[in-house]
């Protein structure tokens, strides 16, 4: 499969009154065409910053983001217009991702007009087609976002992303604000659309259950760096990094089978440090149950423990480093 997106040692630092926030501190990832790469992490992990850098809300501090081989690490303002058609985003909060003063018709017509996807007299027909794709009735064109439920608003956000026929869609926690049954609908919609149109997804979430059922490969981040990358099944059956194990064992589950799957309970301790004050060496060491002396001194390198399964942890020093 061809590679559609490559993030190469991306760093994004923010200057604030408290100091330099190292939101993303050396992230390398790749996404193949038609694949779903999941990015998991808690607050301060930098996953949203990675998403926003890909989409251009932020320009990179250093490092490269390559879309089909072309460097796109500058922000949207400097990007060529064709790129704005190819890469789209679905935001986390359905409440603020739609302009409350617009009708749905206008919200969906805007991208069509900007890129002249269809001539003016066909806009309404195309808008209805988009609503149809996300399984909403055509009468919604006369509605305000305030009249819709959260799941419906999120479907409109997806429809807006689809309007310009993108190749890569970044999804920043698209279902975190939704109830379980709405979440199921939206996830299934996204998967169906991917099957029909071959989108590549960069899927960000903190919900491991969703991640398991959506992603082909999963990367977990902590304090701006990647801890582990693995194919989805391996990630849950053979988690290697201590943070991964802590996270999986903290997630409440609803069935016995999932209980069996979880690693032995790693009691979560400590607070997540602020990204202004990242601990030296491996950022996780203050909370790590398997900490060794070297962990506070050196940043771990990447080790391939199983094929396609990479981990950044000194425990696996004996494996091939990359």
């Amino acid at each position: 499969m061809k590679e559609i997106l490559r993030i190469d040692n991306l760093k994004k630092y923010f200057q604030t009154a408290q100091g330099t926030v190292k939101a993303v501190d050396g992230v390398t990832l790749s996404l193949a065409e038609g694949e779903t790469l999941g990015l998991v992490g808690e607050s301060g992990s930098g996953k949203s910053t990675v998403a926003y850098s890909v989409v251009g809300i932020y320009g990179a501090t250093s490092g490269k983001i390559l879309y089909r081989g072309k460097d796109i690490s500058m922000g949207t303002v400097k990007r060529p217009k064709s790129l704005k058609k190819d890469i789209q985003i679905v935001f986390q909060d359905p409440g603020t991702s739609l302009n409350p003063r617009h009708y749905i018709h206008q919200i969906l017509a805007m991208p069509l007009r900007v890129h002249r996807i269809v001539p003016e007299n066909e806009i309404t027909a195309k808008v209805k087609e988009l609503l149809d794709l996300v399984q909403l009735p055509a009468s919604f064109i006369y509605k305000h976002p305030l009249e819709l439920g959260e799941g419906e608003k999120q479907s409109i956000g997806i429809a807006r992303a689809l309007a310009v026929n993108p190749s890569l869609i970044v999804l920043d926690e698209p279902t975190s604000a939704l109830d379980v049954s709405m979440q199921a609908k939206v996830i299934n919609l996204l998967l169906d659309l991917q099957k029909d149109f071959g989108f590549s997804y960069l899927f960000i979430t903190h919900d491991l259950g969703v991640m398991r059922n959506v992603a082909n490969r999963i990367a977990i981040m902590y304090l701006g760096k990647i801890c582990e990358i693995a194919p989805a099944a391996d990630f849950f059956h053979k988690p290697l990094h201590p943070y991964t194990r802590m996270l999986i064992s903290s997630v409440p589950v609803v069935s016995e089978e999932e209980e069996q799957l979880r690693p032995v309970k790693v009691a979560s301790r400590g607070e997540i440090p602020s990204p202004v004050n990242v601990p030296g060496g491996c950022g996780f060491h203050p909370r790590c149950p398997d900490k060794m002396d070297i962990c506070s001194l050196e940043i771990p390198a990447m080790y391939e423990v199983h094929p396609g399964h990479y981990v950044f942890c000194h425990k696996y020093m004996t494996h091939n480093s990359k």
């Binding site: 379980v180 398991r212 059922n213 849950f236 589950v253 799957l261 607070e271 997540i272």
Partner: protein, 327 residues
């Protein structure tokens, strides 16, 4: 069987709005026994927050109204109390923890000031004596220690903005524990927190209530949390409790079609895709469906479901379902 700390009988609550009367809570029934941890699970719009507000007497006025029914707290009917009497019950006998710890703490007062305010009011109400500021300070440090907060003396002079989300929620737990209330209502306390922090907070909360034998009503939309921590669970849909069972029993043997659909829709760590979810939308409360409010979305519906509201049928030890399928 220990006696009930809280008992809601046939409760009807409605809101008056421009569009008309929203009949939000429709014949709700719920019981909590002494020292029990009861979960109330349901999706957005099912009326969980309205239930909590009705119990605590903080329905928005003048729109919110208890039309019918009783809420018995240790034998007293809370719906019949005056607002002054209710004020005494709130905070002393019933305490609450809310979803957003940032919003629950006043940003312009220090943690110490807020804690000591609560201590002074609640302890003096319970004992009838005044509380000196030294005593208040000691008690504040004590509850902060119980909430596993590091360096409590220094924390007293910190402002909420200096604390992380997890620490703020611990402060809220400390605030709730001050008066040793008989009933604690927790409204999704872990939702705003990261998973690993939520785990710690819940552990702390559950240990505190177990130690004090406080009955807990835990409102939540995450099924996993309920399964891990609760003794008994009520499933709520469109203003009514539709199923109640012991926690393990509910997840092994769900009977109400809504419960079944809900559990199927939760994405599992074991993979296997996600079920389609339940078709349709939560009903409008202006004109809710007659009979069983779930019937328009139910794949097992029968004729009687649209006509008559199903009563609770006993199907096992402590397991009741409001569904004609289980008659």
């Amino acid at each position: 069987m220990s006696k009930n700390v809280l008992e809601i009988r046939n409760l009807y609550v409605s809101y008056k709005t421009y569009e008309g009367n929203l009949r939000v809570i429709d014949d709700m029934n719920l019981e909590i026994r002494q020292g029990e941890k009861v979960g109330l699970v349901g999706e957005t719009g099912c009326g969980k927050t309205t239930t909590m507000r009705s119990i605590m007497g903080i329905l928005p006025k003048p729109a919110g109204r208890i039309d019918q029914g009783e809420i018995f707290f240790e034998g007293k009917d809370l719906t019949k109390l005056s607002s002054k009497e209710m004020q005494c019950v709130r905070g002393r006998d019933i305490t609450a923890i809310f979803q957003n710890p940032t919003a629950a703490l006043n940003p312009v007062f220090t943690i110490g000031q807020q804690l000591q305010d609560v201590i002074r009011v609640q302890v003096s109400r319970k004992t009838g004596n005044r509380v000196s500021s030294r005593e208040a300070k000691e008690r504040a440090i004590q509850v902060l220690k119980e909430a596993a907060l590091p360096d409590p003396e220094r924390l007293l002079s910190n402002y909420p903005v200096q604390l992380s989300g997890g620490m703020k929620q611990r402060v809220c737990i400390a605030l709730a524990m001050v008066s040793n209330a008989d009933l604690l209502i927790a409204d999704e306390p872990g939702t705003a927190l990261d998973v690993t922090i939520q785990d710690q907070i819940l552990r702390l909360l559950m240990n505190s209530v177990t130690k004090r034998n406080t009955a807990t009503l835990y409102i939540e939309h995450s099924l996993g949390v309920i399964r891990e921590w609760m003794d008994r669970v009520y499933v709520m849909y469109a203003g009514r409790t539709v199923e109640v069972a012991e926690s393990a029993d509910l997840f092994k043997n769900p009977l109400h079609p809504y419960t079944i659909g809900l559990l199927a829709a939760v994405p599992k760590l074991t993979g296997g895709g996600i079920a389609q979810g339940i078709s349709g939308r939560v009903p409008e409360y202006i004109n809710p469906p007659g009979g069983c409010r779930f019937h328009p979305r139910c794949e097992y519906k029968m004729d009687i479901c649209a006509k008559e509201k199903p009563p609770f049928f006993e199907v096992g030890k402590d397991h009741k379902v409001a569904c004609y399928r289980s008659a």
